[in-house]
Amino acid sequence: MQAPLSPAAADTVAAAVLARHDGRQDQLLPALHALQDAIGFIAPARVPAIARHFNLSRAEVHGVLTFYHHFRAEAPARCRVTLCRAEACRSMGADRLLAHAQRTLGCDLHGRSADGSVSLDPVYCLGQCANAPAMTLDDAVFARVTPARFDALLAHALEADRPAPTHPGGPSFLPEAV
């Protein structure tokens, strides 16, 4: 996970991102993705500028932002965990894995660990249903996740000098020991 940007730097980045997207409405979702990828989240305070750029009302932009589960209004945790809660993963112990994650992190789904470093969210299917249960850690996906593997992956992710994945989704950074 990248270091958080200062508010001034985030404003500069946001202006640059918007400038790369012309004002047609079908560019709204690509622009929101680019904003979140660059800054980490889309603060409510940024909505008026987005609305101006796309010639939409603030309500329309707010409506889009809140409709989609992917967009965040707050800075992400240093480490983002999502656990699959869909049927195939349930059939292979996703409930037990969730209980373990809740115990380990001391928080519920949609929550964060006490020190705020790890967020825990549900996701409905990662396309890994034949090797359930599955989870993601930041942008990498993991399958056949046992509680022990969960702990090892998390410990590795929380090491300060962990190399970042080279591009979203893969290649994964699965440590050999895990």
């Binding site: 047609r24 979702l29 989609y68 195939a88 996701v123 249903c129 090797n131 359930a132 399958a143 290649p171």
Partner: protein
């Protein structure tokens, strides 16, 4: 001479450590002074064996799996790069593994064999022959070939693809579009993902042919944000296909323009519904549109639009290359061609199984799947995603065929099969189906928006162990009533099909809803 070794780069392999295995193989070969050529292929779909490492030998490709990075030293010690079959992970020639050998690989014929991003590999395995043929045909003839193949949309509704394309071709419109529905949100489905990650040029070729067939110059692939690897792979493949002249302003020198663009979803199941997907592509909330007008007449930006599932587009290159009859000759009844079955959940050998329509569910569960992963009896099988019915053992002889499933008040959907053993609590799973509908409803119509929330509350009352039996029975009656309203009053299949998992669980597994017998009026 260097030995060619394959380590898949599909996310199913990556998710269980394929990169670490590949790195270990390179390191170990260097340490031993051995000359190897490491290829990152796609997945064979034998997902319980991932990471499945293959070594090219004179006798074919020898398989080893599932390989952990820690196994690599021992594999070299056992002489695996000379094709020695002595290591415990040795599987012998991959093509002869019964799970694979008994399939009818048509759409997935190349998948797992090639390097997904190699244009040379793609061409060497028959790629682009369909596009070349299509470029020589009038649009109406391309549509006629797809119609004659009997291809029905693989995204769920099973509507004849040729009929849809003909509507778009005939529709007046300044601009026309092709849109690929790659939202694949159903639990238990991953065939679209495998196509995108392991054979992206096939999808690109299918969409290019569709664009020629309907008179579109532009296409969009709407891919869910949960699939970052598929998105990266498609973007890379589109770039290379364009550079090689298969896309762009002058496709293969024909003067025809076909541009494709990937758009990322943002975590909303309903955006798999075709009109909600179009709204999302236009930059709006993914709210379902009332039909008519059909997207084929007024779709993206109000223009005629052919919107199809990944597997529907992926079937097209072969139809154009080998002829409609080749495809139509697979299958049964009105279900022609092959169905990429996706077997998942509590099953020993989960993976992708491409078969002509007509195999039975029981064959899939036991002959391919090998029974449950837990070793316990299988109890219930959900087919067709989170909106599909749960089938009890008495229905496992149902052939995989759209009409046969409809006759049993079930759906084939996108071909996803999720297995549950006897520890599954069908009451909890029914509750999950309602809760999922409540969370993912687009909110446009009342039966779904309010109904699903009420459904969760009602199921909670039924499952409350402290409630007296008569009270619970009243709630069951209420739940059936509510399901009826959702079934017949919802605008789309999100609310309209949530009763399938709920009522099938209630009907076939009443013991999971109470200790006493529940009333079971009628077939529902």
């Amino acid at each position: 001479m260097s030995v060619r070794i394959y380590v898949p780069c599909d996310s199913a392999a990556l998710a269980v450590g394929a990169d670490a295995v590949a790195a270990a193989i390179v390191r170990e070969a260097a340490r031993r002074g051995l000359d190897i050529d490491l290829v990152r292929n796609g997945t064979r779909g034998l997902l319980w064996l991932e990471p499945l490492v293959e070594v090219a030998t004179p006798a074919g490709r020898a398989g080893f799996g599932p390989v952990d990075a820690a196994d690599v030293g021992a594999l070299f010690d056992a002489g695996f790069i000379d094709g020695a079959n002595t290591h415990p992970l040795a599987l012998g020639p991959v093509e002869r593994i019964p799970y694979l050998a008994r399939q009818q690989r048509v759409t997935f014929a190349r998948i797992g064999i090639t390097d997904p991003l190699s244009l040379d590999d793609y061409r060497a395995h028959g790629g682009f022959a369909g596009l070349e043929n299509a470029l020589a045909l009038p649009a109406a003839d391309i549509v006629a070939a797809v119609t004659a193949s009997g291809l029905r949309g693989r995204g769920g509704a099973a509507f004849p693809t040729g009929v849809k394309w003909n509507t778009v071709l005939q529709a007046p419109g300044a601009d026309k579009y092709v849109v690929c529905n790659a939202d694949e949100g159903d639990s238990g489905t991953f065939a679209d993902r495998i196509v995108m990650e392991s054979d992206p040029y096939m999808l690109i070729e299918g969409m290019a042919i569709a664009a020629l067939a309907v008179g579109a110059a532009r296409g969009y692939l709407y891919v869910r944000s949960e699939y970052p690897h598929a998105i990266a792979q498609l973007q890379a493949a589109i770039g290379q296909a364009r550079a090689a002249g298969y896309l762009g302003a002058d496709v293969l020198g024909s003067g025809r323009t076909v541009e494709l663009e990937v758009r990322k979803g943002a975590g909303a199941y309903i955006c798999g519904e075709e009109t909600a997907l179009l709204e999302s592509l236009e930059g709006k909330r993914g709210i379902v549109r009332s039909k008519p007008p059909l997207p084929a007449l007024a779709g993206l930006f109000g223009q005629p639009t052919a919107i199809n599932n990944v597997l529907s587009f992926a079937a097209v290159p072969l139809i154009l290359a080998k002829g409609a009859g080749y495809y139509r000759d697979y299958g049964m009844g009105r279900s022609r061609g092959t169905l990429p079955v996706q077997l998942a959940g509590n099953v020993r050998r989960g993976g992708l199984i491409e078969l002509a329509f007509g195999a039975t569910l029981r064959e899939i569960l036991y002959d391919y799947g090998g029974g449950s992963a837990s070793g316990r009896p299988i109890k219930a099988v959900q087919v067709g995603g989170p909106l599909g019915a749960y089938l009890p053992e008495s229905q496992w002889d149902t052939p995989l065929d759209y009409e046969a499933f409809a006759d049993r008040w079930a759906v084939l959907g996108h071909g996803g099969i999720v297995v549950h053993d006897d520890t599954a609590d069908m009451g909890r799973l029914a509750r999950h189906a309602m809760a999922f509908c409540a969370a993912e409803s687009c909110g446009k119509c009342t039966p779904c928006r309010i109904g699903a929330t009420r459904g969760v509350e009602t199921i909670d009352k039924i499952l409350d162990p402290d409630a007296p039996a008569p009270q619970r029975e009243r709630q069951v009656t209420l739940l059936r009533d509510l399901c009826d309203t959702m079934l017949y009053g919802s605008l789309c299949a999100m609310g309209g099909m949530t009763p399938y998992p709920v009522l099938s669980a209630l009907n076939h597994f009443p013991q999971d809803f109470s200790q006493a017998d529940m009333p079971r009026p009628g077939r529902l």
